[in-house]
């Protein structure tokens, strides 16, 4: 090993140590725990498939529903994000400056955003006040909050910057020359978008779809606060098994079921995004 490469690994040491100690090792232990047993509230190492059988029995439907919500949110967010990124890239001049306004909300306000939707959609929330004031409804609509729709709206709002960022980064690298050439050759706007622009932002498109899907499907705080009994998602039951039921094997198996189903869906999405439209 050359000195240069040896030095590189030395520099990477601390970060990789953190990754190994706080991510790889815990992940392995969590997987092992999913085969352990709980007897009278005591967790003991074993090689049991009880937890896996149990979650297959109890949670298969909920897993499918959670993946469905994740996909719906991801599709909506990615389409909206693409529309915004296209507008910023092609309709205004100071695009980079506008992006700061989007970026600024990326790292802050997770709880505050969910709380804001609670106060907008609640029974005595802003939307109901507005509807009553406009005479559109007599009594507050109870169904605005504690519903699937509320969860989807709040998740789309929270995740939009995560979709816009990679899409805009991809669009910045699309050259104007290729677009002008296509236009000169008589391509319609739709054709330019579909055949010239989108194929060049495949990476950004997949990043947007993947980020938003993973974060939506893995979230439990939004459904807990806005979902009500009809809008529960898998993450809430991971929490339930770990804390309330003290059934760590079930919680561990459920965590891996959540991860597994998300990764399976992502593999399919990757095949679609990177396979579609590729000329033979």
């Amino acid at each position: 090993m050359t000195e240069r490469v040896g030095r590189a690994w030395l520099l990477l040491g601390p970060a990789l140590a953190v990754l190994a100690a706080l991510f790889a090792l815990p992940a392995i232990l969590l997987f092992a725990v999913s085969f352990w047993e709980v007897r009278s509230f005591r967790l003991s190492p074993a090689l049991s498939l009880a937890a896996w059988a149990g979650i297959w029995r109890d949670y298969a439907g909920l897993a499918a529903y959670t993946v469905g919500i994740g996909l719906a949110v991801s599709a909506l967010t990615t389409m909206l994000g693409l529309a915004f990124a296209l507008a910023v890239r092609f309709a205004v001049r100071q695009g980079d400056r506008l992006m700061i306004a989007v970026l600024i909300t990326l790292f802050g306000g997770y709880l505050v955003k969910i709380y804001a939707w609670k106060s907008i959609l609640g029974a005595d929330g802003l939307l109901n006040q507005a509807l009553i004031a406009l005479g559109l409804t007599g009594a507050p609509l109870q169904a605005l909050i504690y519903s699937r729709g509320a969860v989807i709206v709040a998740l789309v709002h929270f995740l939009l910057p995560f979709a816009i960022l990679p899409l805009y980064a991809g669009l910045r690298n699309v050259s104007d020359t290729a677009i002008e050439a296509a236009r000169d050759l008589g391509a319609s706007r739709a054709a330019i978008l579909w055949r010239v622009v989108l194929p060049q932002v495949r990476g950004g498109l997949f990043a947007a779809i993947a980020f938003t899907f993973l974060l939506a499907a893995g979230d439990y705080v939004t459904p807990m606060l806005l979902g009500g009994p009809g809008g529960t998602m898998l993450g809430q039951f991971v929490l339930l098994e770990f804390s309330t039921n003290f059934d760590w094997p079930a919680g561990a198996a459920l965590s891996y079921a959540l991860l597994g189903s998300c990764l399976a869906v992502l593999a399919v999405l990757a095949a679609v995004v990177f396979g579609a439209g590729r000329q033979p």
Partner: protein
Amino acid sequence: MIGRLLIALFLLFLLGPILLVVLFSFGSSALIGFPTGPLTLDWYRALWNDSGFWVSLRASLVVALATAVIATLTGTLAALGLRRLGAGTARLLTGGLALPVLMPPLVVAIAIVVLVVRGLGLPLGVPVVVLAHVLVTQPFVILILLARLERFDPAAMEAARDLGATEWQAFTRVMLPQIAGALVGAGLIAAAISLDDFIIASFTLGGGNTLSTFTWGKMRTTLDPSINAIATVLIVLTLSLSAVALRLARYRG
């Protein structure tokens, strides 16, 4: 024209809900809604006199500062290391280091709790929160630093070495001043993510509160209007840190 209208609508959707919370934190009406009543600082006064708020703010700031310092260190060293490796190896390692950010924070947090409590038999608390936050913030430091180092001219370092500087001198006198903005920016982003994090902190803290878990407690249990004020404090802290950071790091995607 349509493009501009679209952008305006999007910004309203993105920022509107946050601005509403800020607005109502100054309204005297206990309910969220219009009219807000006369403007008042009552909810901030209530917060000022709430010892729980100060304890949680202190914990949050300690965690955010420690996270920022450690993650900037581990992340910067990693970025410098990655630059010395082949492109394939570097991409693989960057992906591996970014993995914790892509996993549901709930699962990351639970796995850490299982290791600390069951695997090691150690207590939860602030040090565990800090380490967990380093895990999920160092990828951002690495990405910001890699983007900055991309634009750094290695010839400057070689020139310094040719003129007799040691490697350490070349690093501290030539490279460090140039990447200082990105370093501070990356640290502030790490602090913002740490302050904002609720899920990981709520599992790994054990007892007590950070600002996020304190806010969550109010969100779940009470209809206390001072929650608008806490939410505003939280959002102003994280957003202003991000704003300064983005300016310093000049990070674009």
